[in-house]
Assembly symmetry: C2
Homo-oligomer: 455 residues x 2
């Protein structure tokens, strides 16, 4: 029996299937929910009151998909094309998509005082990848509480800071918008050229990056921290993810700074503290948030490569970030290290990791790589554009990062539809993968082992 | 106890270590052997009699490394820069590097009627990744016999065919050179623009591709076929590799043909049978042989991407081809498929695959990817060249394919040295990886299992 899904959850799920309450498979329900949100968003964004001069159905669909999948790729500029109504629709789609309609469903159920239905339980269990149904209820509620708290704090600080330059109402409006898009790692901005004007502004950069990191580190980590308070009593998983996040962000910071130090189009002409802030922002945002303060088209190819790796890895599990996830990345590294060190089991912080977890990590790595490969293959046949720009765009879509080398608006409708599919698959992919597993037949046959040469 | 190395071999190895006969670790000896060959080759190619107008030490070193690692990247044209002596040195380096100095050492030992020393046994065992020492002796001898037989047959056909256009001596000389370089998947050619002039020549294309496939499928497969003769009695491994090779080559053939069909710089202006031959040649050669009949710089980015995937996968284990190897690729696919199908074990042709094999495959995948990532990172900082050309060059070097978008001669000395390191690591990498394992400390501590979220 595989242990990737807790017995408890799996049995509930089987019971649901047997009682016929729940015939559609969970990934179908999840995908349908996201699709429903996207279609509703498309409809609302198509309304005359949503845009200043009207936008095409393709653009509305693209922007809605980008919002629900918390990507942030833009075929039209939200600040220019949309009215306040359109912008509020956009940020609502981001909030619903980011925290996940599943979490919302669970939280609503708890708030309404209803005992969660088994359908909801199984749904929440798979979506949040948690280990017990009762735990999920607590988690779901703390997801909601934590998110709103963090977003409120960030919005307050940004309001006070931006009030110096904007009328209070404008400051509040923009602060809420950016608190939501940054915490949900959704990269939309209401300023021209994303956050370029805040390049050297320490308060804005540090608040936005803090919000990105908190949204992208994963709710189980946040939950564990908020319960335990002390480092020594944290779960191994929490410690590993915190250290991994820190390591990735700092590595990105140093490497991007070093590689762009002499680039007159990015860092070279800035004072050192602005260089530091810009490199930090670029490193943090690459882990699938997608805001930019630098001109992405002017970065060296070497930094662009580093950024693509950061996008591919992404944030923590159970977070508003996407990518293969930092936990997956760490497991893959640990597996290779253990193999080289000749260990029978994969060991991480003196704990062994199950072979199922390793296979799941491998599956995620290959699924995301295959998605990127296919995306690039299709886009290179559809467009005559530099390979690196297409690769960057596809990695950005699959990891739902939303940075672009100014490519998105230039693309044909066909290519934009391919990108919507990639964003959708990139955001739901891991979930659907896990989900599909539960619905497959298990084999009871044992096969004899074969010797197989590799490498 | 891990089962990746047979107990038998491991015990011999331990005995050797204990008796102090064999203090250097096997990967060091292997690497040193290759390095020795490369340095000897550099010296010989630097001799005035080797080149028409003299070549730089860097070029001699680059060409020797390219030959010993059977890559075929060229900083100078072998047909133009080298004399006959230089060309013979080159093909000798290819033959020694391709069949492996290990195999040669083992075969020599057998031929000399000496009982193999334990040192040789352990060395051969690790290098050929076989399961018993007595089996290795047989294998080594059949490697030698098979290689020479196949090369002689190919050389004879090519001689007869090319005799129509060249004097007999020239035909024999070129036939031997190309029989050796094609069977060893080393991609050097004595004609201008590689094999471009044979674009529509069915005999040359089919002989060269057959030679490439036979050299690149792996000696255990060839050995099994030559012993069993009948499909039904072949090993599972043999069947899988044959079918996988066929599937990859045919897929590459169809996809490249389809993507280049309308390209006036490659296939569009050719008759259909030449299109077919050119697409077939391009598909087969991409699995790390490196000959070309088409102009690589003129291929669509989409076909270039496909070719990079084929290069990355490469040929069979225990062959003159490199890459992660087709067996590794199949195991990775099988692991993902089994995971999705909810199977506890990875099943391939009704045989289960050990978790060690899967971890090894994962290690190979990540090691090669990391090598490519680092190579591209360094080259993009050193050169101002199109990203796709650099990526192609690096994948070609790491997989020891040797195709280039005409980049190699343009590169700075520093970049060329990076390429030599990549070729060296790409060819030895998997071997050294396996080898290093045996020299590491085993841990006897059992750690408790931890839950770890991925994806
Ligand atoms: K994003
Ligand atoms: K080659």
């Amino acid at each position: 029996m595989r242990n990737w899904l807790p017995l408890h959850g799996y049995q509930s799920y089987q019971r649901i299937q047997r009682t016929g309450l729940f015939r559609a498979s969970p990934p179908v329900i999840l995908a349908a929910g996201f699709l429903g949100l996207i279609l509703m968003g498309t409809l609302l964004l198509s309304l005359p009151m949503a845009s200043r001069n009207g936008i095409s159905a393709t653009n509305a669909f693209f922007m809605a998909t980008s919002a629900v999948t918390v990507t942030g790729l833009t075929s039209v500029e939200p600040a220019i094309a949309f009215t306040h109504f359109g912008q509020i629709v956009l940020m609502t789609l981001v909030q619903l998509g980011g925290l996940g309609f599943v979490t919302f469903a669970v939280v609503s159920a708890i708030m309404l005082g209803k005992k969660m239905s088994l359908t909801h339980q199984a749904l929440a269990l798979e979506a949040l990848n948690q280990t017990s149904v009762s735990k999920i209820q607590k988690t779901a509620f703390s997801v909601f509480k934590l998110s709103i708290t963090i977003e409120l704090i960030m919005a307050t600080i940004l309001t006070l800071w931006w009030w110096r330059d904007y009328p209070l109402i404008t400051a509040i409006y923009r602060a809420i918008f950016h608190a939501i898009t940054s915490f949900n790692n959704a990269g939309f901005s209401l300023f021209p050229n994303s956050l370029n004007q805040f390049l050297g502004d320490p308060v804005t950069v540090l608040v936005i990056t803090a919000s990105i990191i908190l949204g992208g580190i994963g709710f189980s980590v946040l939950g564990d921290i908020s319960q335990k308070k002390r480092w020594s009593s944290l779960l191994t998983y929490t410690k590993v993810i915190i250290m991994g996040t820190l390591a990735l962000n700092l590595t990105g910071f140093v490497v991007i700074w070093a590689l762009e130090f002499n680039n007159p189009h990015t860092l070279a002409n800035l004072p050192w503290h602005s260089q530091a802030l810009a490199a930090w922002m670029q490193s943090v945002t690459s882990r699938t948030a997608g805001f930019v303060t630098l001109d992405i088209t002017q970065l060296h190819d070497s930094s662009t490569l580093i950024i693509m790796l950061l996008m591919f890895i992404g944030g923590g599990s159970l977070s508003t970030a996407s990518g293969i996830k930092i936990g997956t990345f760490i497991i893959l590294l640990a597996a290779v290290y253990s193999y080289i060190r000749h260990r029978k089991e994969v060991v991480l912080f003196k704990r062994s990791v199950s072979s199922d977890t390793i296979q799941k990590s491998l599956a995620l790595l290959l699924a995301n790589s295959a998605l990127i490969f296919l995306g690039v293959l299709i886009l290179t046949t559809l467009e005559e554009l530099p390979f690196i720009s297409i690769l960057f765009e596809v990695v950005s879509a699959v990891s739902t990062t939303g940075m672009s080398r100014d490519l998105t608006p230039q693309l044909s409708t066909a290519s934009q539809l391919v990108l919507t599919l990639l964003m959708f698959a990139g955001r739901l992919g891991p979930l659907t993968l896990i989900y599909s597993l539960a619905t497959q037949q298990r084999s009871r046959v044992r096969y004899p082992e074969t010797e197989f040469q590799v490498g």
